[in-house]
Symmetry: C2
């Protein structure tokens, strides 16, 4: 049984990549076979894990555009035996235009993941900050969507567009798509604004809000400059502890069905 989780929010800078890397590492540490897919042309998940997207032999671009088998493009045992990565590349910036005129343009990732899904317990897909074809491909391929929201004013504004897009995908491309949950990130308990938005998110989403909250913690912003997930950079940090707790919460949810 494997679960494909899209990490999506078109609002920029809310912690999508940081969540993909560190939830991925948290699941791998708990010995859950995990694949991270970097669907963002910026390639931050690829570089944040220590790889150079300009020199990777093969990437998600080759899989989507040339039909290279996903199996042949994966980097295996990334920092942990149970963590693999399908990297991004420079070319991905052109992928949305190249996909526009193709038949089934939204289904490339779903079809590519088919043959490998059962090798992984979790597949986490890091999305770019937009609702274009790369994000649509991801939503079409996913079982659930994890929505990081920053505890700041603009956080709740774009959510109705995102939920709308999810509904459209459920009606057409992927009827089984569910919302995994809303993850509050960069929470700073000293700030009124932060506490206020965190509270509003809870009112708005109720039980679909993760109990785990990711605090603002500079160690999370430092770790990618060393190419490491937070658990390898500073396991004692509040950032590391919160992502380990999130991993446990997700593993527990799946067990509970």
């Amino acid at each position: 049984m494997s679960r494909v989780i899209a990490i999506a929010n078109q609002k920029g800078g809310v912690g999508k990549t940081t969540t993909a890397i560190n939830l991925g590492a948290g699941l791998a540490v708990a010995e859950q076979r995990t694949l991270i897919v970097d669907m963002d042309p910026q390639g931050n998940a690829t570089s944040g894990l220590g790889f150079d997207k300009t020199t990777v032999p093969s990437s998600v671009y080759d899989v989507l555009i040339d039909g290279t088998p996903l199996q042949d493009s994966i980097l295996t045992r990334v920092h942990f035996p149970f963590l693999d990565l399908l990297p991004s590349s420079q070319d991905l910036v052109g992928a949305e235009v190249e996909l526009v005129d193709r038949p089934h343009r939204e289904l490339g990732l779903r079809d590519a993941l088919g043959p490998v899904r059962d090798q992984y317990r979790y597949v986490l897909v890091d999305c770019p900050p937009s609702l274009g074809l790369l994000t649509l491909n991801t939503l079409a391929a996913a079982d659930t969507v994890l929505i990081p929201i920053q505890c700041e004013f603009y956080a709740l504004e774009g959510l109705s567009q995102l939920l709308n897009t999810i509904r459209l995908v459920q009606h057409s491309l992927n009827p089984r798509l569910q919302v995994e949950g809303v993850l509050r990130t960069m929470f700073d308990s000293r700030l009124n604004l932060s506490r206020q938005v965190a509270e509003e998110a809870k009112e708005y989403f109720g039980s679909r809000v993760f109990r785990s909250v990711i605090p603002r913690n500079v160690r999370l912003a430092e770790a990618p400059s060393f190419g490491k997930p937070i658990v390898l950079y500073d396991i004692l940090s509040s950032g590391a502890q919160s992502y380990l707790a999130l991993a446990q919460e997700i593993i527990g949810q799946v067990a509970a069905g």
Copy 2:
């Protein structure tokens, strides 16, 4: 003489909207007739200035897709006599797909701005976090690009793609396009990471880096929840002072030619 400035960076959450609103207000306070254009489907510049993008009578969508004259869609005297806004709307999320098959799909904004340019000293265009058709429209219409970069690890990574896109636009759509400057945002002098990235940006861009640096200041994140630019919300804050300094720097540059 008017100057159209694109505020662009496909990296999300780097302070594009915060810069559009507060540089716009800073220029208006200095009695420079200024127009802010909200080209982001999220509509954060529209709501950050106190408007509801679901109820605006007309928006940049109508201008781009239906050819409504820009003059008829502008909200005038927004907080200041010298500040106008061309708002975003919910529909804008579909604009990129709707523009794809149109002739001159990248030139809608340039053509729409033509008749009104000379009424403004500055036109600031807030871009979404992507290099799609809305950003291309903006680069085709702009005289210069102002690039906000967050003083964090991922900041420098996407810049080569952005500079590449600017070069492509210079060769095809807009030969006179220049880089106005790189603006360092969310700078926190207490953090090594912040000082390091700010330093690297200076080495990378040299004289094209603004002297003004925007500090991380929670008042900047609070102001939009009151629908106000920082100079009206908290003029004494470091955030307000830094954006006023930036406005002066830009006015001074133009004067110096």
